[in-house]
């Protein structure tokens, strides 16, 4: 049975502050009773990952990692959420690795495929930026060198 997963676009929609606060309180309360259910932890982690603040995203990924470590049965879903988390704050390498692990297990998963293509897009976009940057730096360097040579030649 394919795992039910949200599309990456869902991760861009963040919860309201109040909702996140409620989830946080729920998590804290269970923490103080030293028995945290997986669902509560996930709720809070997912709420954090959806938020635009980078610290939240990192914290969310950390909680997801804890779930991953603790619950072997939930690992497959966590692969996706972890990949999403990494994708959001820019670690495309990790994102790609987690996502590819998931796709090994479920090649027909739509969300995983879409996430893979999103990651690729971002990576190539940054590649273009990098190329543009390198090109620009090269161009400036050439100009400077040329001016130096000209100056030297003029002298």
């Amino acid at each position: 049975m394919p795992t039910e997963l949200p599309y990456a676009a869902d991760a861009e929609v963040s919860l309201s502050y109040d909702e996140l606060e409620v989830l946080r309180l729920q998590y804290q309360r269970e923490l103080s009773q030293s028995h945290v259910t997986t669902q509560t932890k996930f709720n809070y982690a997912w709420g954090l990952v959806k938020s635009p603040i980078r610290e939240h995203q990192v914290e969310g990924v950390r909680l997801l990692q804890e779930i991953y470590r603790a619950e072997p049965t939930r690992r497959r879903e966590c692969l996706y959420y972890l990949a999403l988390g990494y994708y959001k704050f820019g670690n495309y390498e990790e994102a790609r690795r987690f996502n590819s692990l998931l796709m090994d297990k479920e090649p027909s998963n739509m969300q995983a495929q879409s996430l893979a293509s999103l990651i690729d897009q971002r990576v190539t976009r940054e590649g273009y930026i990098g190329m543009a940057l390198a090109g620009g730096v090269a161009a400036i360097g050439t100009i400077l060198l040329a001016s130096l040579i000209r100056r030297a030649a003029r002298k």
């Binding site: 909702e19 990692q65 990790e94 990098g130």
Partner: protein
């Protein structure tokens, strides 16, 4: 130029590499990210980031199993959608659609007034926030109608005049369906949680039970150490007194009261516990009495229809010799170092020196007694030949001077079977089926006192007013009548005998004597006066064995029970029930070892209150007699064998 580019690249690459992950590949993608990092990456790199990053590596290498159980049924996302607070929004919304806009009724103030509380003067609590289109407005007709015609027209119900519209209703059904699914999801999650928690509780309970057991074990160890301490202290006293040249012949405390561990050969530790490692077969009839001087020392056993107890060397398991002299079955005996005292059916008590048993073996002297014939080499009993009749008709106690042979002394006085005896130092107490108990001085061989149990039964000691009358098994008259014989309850193999020992067991310490008799009573006597001062009633059948220490009296009886009494108050601590009659027992602070009519020797652990049974390589017929010292146990059974166990 190129160095500059490379420099720029590396400079831009560094902040990224430390944060961005393990990859060190310098490609355009990483370059492209550089400006973003430099401009926006002003924030500090926290330990969180590093943690997250480092953990990724480790996690990727872990196995990802198939999801099953609740993970398969309810994905995390479903659970999320079911449990976040906004899941309940639709319900709230629907409730609002049913809100009817009425003129302010002041319900809250009404309610609080009814409860006797002062209401707020503030009447305008915020009305719940809802979207405008959800509020259904009832026309003001209701209000106006009331004002105009209050009496006649009944007030319309709140829901009159309200329409939702088809779309709204369809939407509501869908929402309700979704909410129901959510509830289903939440139920599955909660059931899973409950199962997990139950499992955890069970594990913790198991741990707690184990710890409690360990606690009991500690208690047992402590009791053992206490005993050891006493034993060591005694030894200390003994050795210091010896070095001071005091009487070396002051015997060490009787083996029956000695508490600490005994001397055992080192090989004894290697023996598996609870297994009989030696079997002595020589008797042909059920064993009736046994005792030994020390582990791996000298053992003396007696059996039915055999008037000659056999003497064994426990180191080798070989029979050393026999004690000749008695005319009837030996019913009771006690061995202390080299002294052995036996009481038999012929009514006499004999004192033997076990060192002399070896001497006898080659003796080829004449025999004077009527018993054994000269076919065997050993002979010569202690010389109660012509000079004294085997049994003097008079009841005067007499003794025989020392003759050669193992029998040192003969004590006569009882008229019937001597069924129980106990001696310590120079004092011996015997109980016989003539319903009396006699105290003897072993140095002179004289009977010092006779205690009449019959008299004690018919004249019970003055009981405290208000206590229940003692409920005797036999009234005085019945007890006096004739010989005492009670059918025993059958053993495990179905066999049974007539139990004829009126005095089942005796033990004394100083002046305090405790006896167990055929009327089921355990009596405590003062040997200075010869009067019983307390009777412990509880058994409903003859008492067959007993032992006491500083705190408890433990008695076993034919009523299939063992009772533990408080020595000082006479109250019952515990009653242990068994399936057959109890014929022998011995106890210490930690355990009670009993022969209860089965093939296995029963051991009751007093700290953990557990019963166990010694069966490995055990007897084939019910065990009747036993004796143990420290970790060495000797048992005799109806199968005529004697087995030695390592405890």
């Amino acid at each position: 130029m190129t160095p500059r580019i490379i420099n720029a690249a590396t400079v831009s690459g560094k902040p990224r590499a430390s944060v961005g992950g393990s990859s060190r590949r310098m490609d355009f993608a990483t370059l492209g990210r550089a400006p973003m990092q430099l401009t926006l990456g002003r924030r500090r790199i926290t330990s969180r980031d590093l943690q997250v990053v480092e953990a990724a590596e480790e996690l990727l290498s872990e196995e990802v199993p198939e999801p099953d159980g609740v993970a398969q049924n309810v994905s995390l996302l479903r659970g999320f959608n079911a449990t976040i607070p906004s899941a309940d929004k639709s319900r709230a919304r629907r409730r609002q659609t049913r809100n009817v806009d009425t003129p302010r009724l002041g319900l809250k103030r009404l309610g609080m007034g009814a409860r006797g509380m002062l209401g707020d003067e503030e009447d305008h609590e915020g009305e719940s926030v809802a979207s405008e289109e959800d509020m259904v407005m009832i026309g003001n007709t209701v209000g106006r109608g009331r004002k105009s015609k209050a009496k006649r027209r009944g007030r319309e119900s709140l829901s009159a005049g309200k329409t939702f519209g088809k779309e709204e209703l369809v939407r509501q059904t869908q929402e309700i369906e979704r909410d129901k699914e959510n509830i289903h999801v939440r139920r599955a999650l909660m059931n899973n949680e409950i199962a997990e928690i139950t499992h955890k509780i069970e594990t913790l309970d198991a741990m707690r039970a184990k710890l409690e057991q360990d606690l009991l074990k500690l208690q047992e160890d402590e009791l053992e150490l206490d005993d050891e301490l006493e034993g060591v202290r005694e030894r200390l006293e003994l050795e210091t007194s010896r070095t001071r040249g005091a009487h070396a012949d002051h015997a060490i405390q009787s083996s029956r009261r000695r508490k600490g561990p005994t001397f055992l050969p080192s090989e004894h530790d290697e023996l598996p516990p609870g297994v009989a490692f030696m079997t002595l077969e020589s008797h042909t009839t059920p064993i009736t009495a046994l005792d030994f001087s020390e582990p791996y020392g000298t053992l003396v056993t007696a059996s039915q229809e055999d008037s000659q107890p056999r003497v064994w060397d426990l180191l080798t398991g070989e029979e050393i010799g026999r004690l000749r002299g008695h005319q009837g079955t030996v019913k009771c005996m006690q061995v202390e170092e080299q002294v052995c005292v036996t009481g038999s059916e012929d009514g006499t008590v004999r004192l033997w020196d076990l060192r002399r048993v070896d001497e006898d073996e080659d003796w080829e002297g004449e025999t004077f007694s009527l018993s054994d014939v000269a076919e065997e080499d050993e002979s010569h009993d202690g010389g109660e030949s012509h000079t004294n009749g085997i049994r003097s008709a008079s009841s005067q106690p007499s003794s025989v001077a020392e003759r050669e042979g193992p029998c040192v002394r003969l004590l006569e006085g009882h008229t019937k079977t001597v069924s129980a005896l106990y001696f310590e130092d120079e004092c011996l107490v015997t109980g016989a089926s003539d319903k009396t108990m006699r105290q003897w001085d072993l140095n002179t061989g004289q009977c010092v006192m006779t205690m009449d149990i019959l008299w004690a039964i018919s004249h019970p000691p003055a009981s405290a007013p208000g206590s229940a009358l003692p409920n005797h098994l036999f009234t005085g008259a019945a007890a006096a009548a004739g010989s005492f014989a009670v059918p025993m309850p059958p053993y495990a193999d179905g066999s049974w005998d007539m139990y004829q020992d009126f005095v089942g067991a005796v033990q004394f310490w100083g002046y305090a004597l405790v006896s167990g008799s055929g009327d089921g009573a355990v009596r405590m006597w003062d040997m200075r006066t010869g009067q019983p001062h307390r009777t412990l009633l509880g058994h409903t059948a003859p008492v067959s064995c007993l032992q006491f220490d500083e705190l408890h009296v433990v008695s076993g009886s034919l009523d299939k029970s063992i009772r533990i009494w408080d020595l000082r108050t006479g109250g019952i601590f515990e009653t242990l029930k068994y399936d057959h009659a109890v014929t022998a027992l011995q106890f210490d602070t930690r355990k009670i070892v009993a022969a209860t009519g089965e093939n296995g020797v029963k051991i009751y652990n007093r700290t953990s209150m557990q019963h166990s049974s010694l069966l490995t390589n055990g007897h084939t017929k019910p065990v009747e007699r036993l004796r143990y010292m420290d970790r060495y146990l000797v048992s005799g059974a109806r199968d005529s064998t004697v087995k030695v166990w390592a405890l």
